[in-house]
Symmetry: C2
Subunit: 216 residues, 2 copies
DNA sequence: TCGTGACTTGACCAAATGGTAAAAAACCAG
DNA sequence: CTGGTTTTTTACCATTTGGTCAAGTCACGA
């Protein structure tokens, strides 16, 4: 009796993961990020992830039930981190500066976390088959709340009148473009740190000009 | 002797594809667009493409040597169509209107050709392994030429001073976002035709405001 | 109409892939 | 130490996948 139960993480009594478990799950998720972000879900293979994690495939499957379980765990883990800057966008003395700060934070995240950006881009590109519920339940409410906030700022004349929903889309599109399309950007302008500096300048000037209220 | 040679298309004497060949190659490319754009290269399978083209797999491989050959042929075929609007961006009486027309054309293409957009997005996302040369040889010169043109317009005071390279990136990012991230956009604002109208309005206002020269 | 070459198909193959079983090894509380 | 538990590995499996082959079937010019 009392056969060993794989340390999965289904809702319910969650045993306090041992140190080994924590370390190995982390290694697996790191490797999965590397591979899934570069190949997409279907294009990635367990062998590749296992190699990348310096771990045997069956050992990996001891920590996660399946390829899909790894992918889902990865998305769940990173979703929060990914949305943190938007959550941090709250009422402030300087709404314009708050948005600009959000924009620049997102741009910085594209530079420093391109794999995360591509992971989500891949998932969305393919119709978000494993993330649909999360979008509905996690992103949608946050999105609606922040749109309401932006609308309020517009009504108060703090920032120029723009469509809040599409403003956010534009911010995401522009900032994440530098991570998701890095291969293209690299060919066209090179991806030096000087290049990033120019991107930052352009993006900042553009959104500041777009959002600065102009007297009628 | 004189065994039947598959109707490939390597450089050299190109026989004038029979009607059947033209029809079937077209069917295959259409199916490949459907599947590759939704799954990426590695995620797509020949069986899926064959099913989608209502054709047996060996028959498909009679027209194209390999999975990769299909993918490359597809990219080549669509690249020209995809870049046409940028090529059409030329010197004009009204530079601002020329750019605006380019922006709106790209946005319209995202609405009407989302699969093409996603096909390229998938390829770039994964590092453009099968398109690197094409980017260098095809896109780069065009990109440089148009940046020079835009720079000229700026010098002439026809449009506001913006970084030409990053202006193009921004245009691509914003317009293609609506095709590539349709799954997300759909969840957040619904993808009705009214939704598209709002997107169009936002995008037009934004770029017009960004590019309209303002007196110092 | 008939033959020849273009087109199509069913059967097949080797490799890769997601996943399993069970034994061996490492770990750790008593 | 020691006995049980957790972790890791070796060997394996069924299915899928990209691709081949030889034998058809079809189209069409003479």
């Amino acid at each position: 009796m009392a056969t060993a139960v794989p340390p999965q993480d289904p809702h319910g009594a969650e045993k306090p993961l041992s140190r080994i478990q924590q370390r190995n799950r982390q290694r697996i998720l790191e490797a999965a990020l590397e591979v899934f972000s570069a190949q997409g879900f279907r294009g990635a293979t367990l062998d590749e992830i296992a190699d990348c994690a310096a771990m045997s495939k069956p050992n990996m499957l001891y920590y996660f039930d399946s390829k899909e379980a790894i992918h889902v765990a990865l998305l769940n883990t990173l979703m929060q981190e990914w949305l943190a800057p938007l959550e941090a966008l709250d009422d402030a003395d300087e709404p314009l500066e708050a948005i600009m700060s959000y924009v620049l934070t997102k741009l910085e995240m594209s530079r420093r976390m391109p794999r995360e950006s591509r992971l989500f881009a891949n998932e969305i590109l393919q119709g978000a088959p494993r993330m649909g519920p999360h979008l509905e339940a996690g992103l949608k409410p946050l999105f609606d709340a922040k749109c309401a906030l932006i609308r309020q700022w517009i009504d108060q004349g703090e920032i120029a009148a723009v469509d809040p929903e599409h403003l956010l889309f534009t911010i995401w599109a522009v900032t994440q473009h530098y991570a998701d399309f890095e291969a293209q950007v690299g060919v066209l302008v090179g991806h030096s740190s000087a290049g990033w500096e120019r991107a930052r300048t352009h993006v900042e000037k553009m959104f500041r000009s777009l959002l600065t209220p102009r007297p009628a």
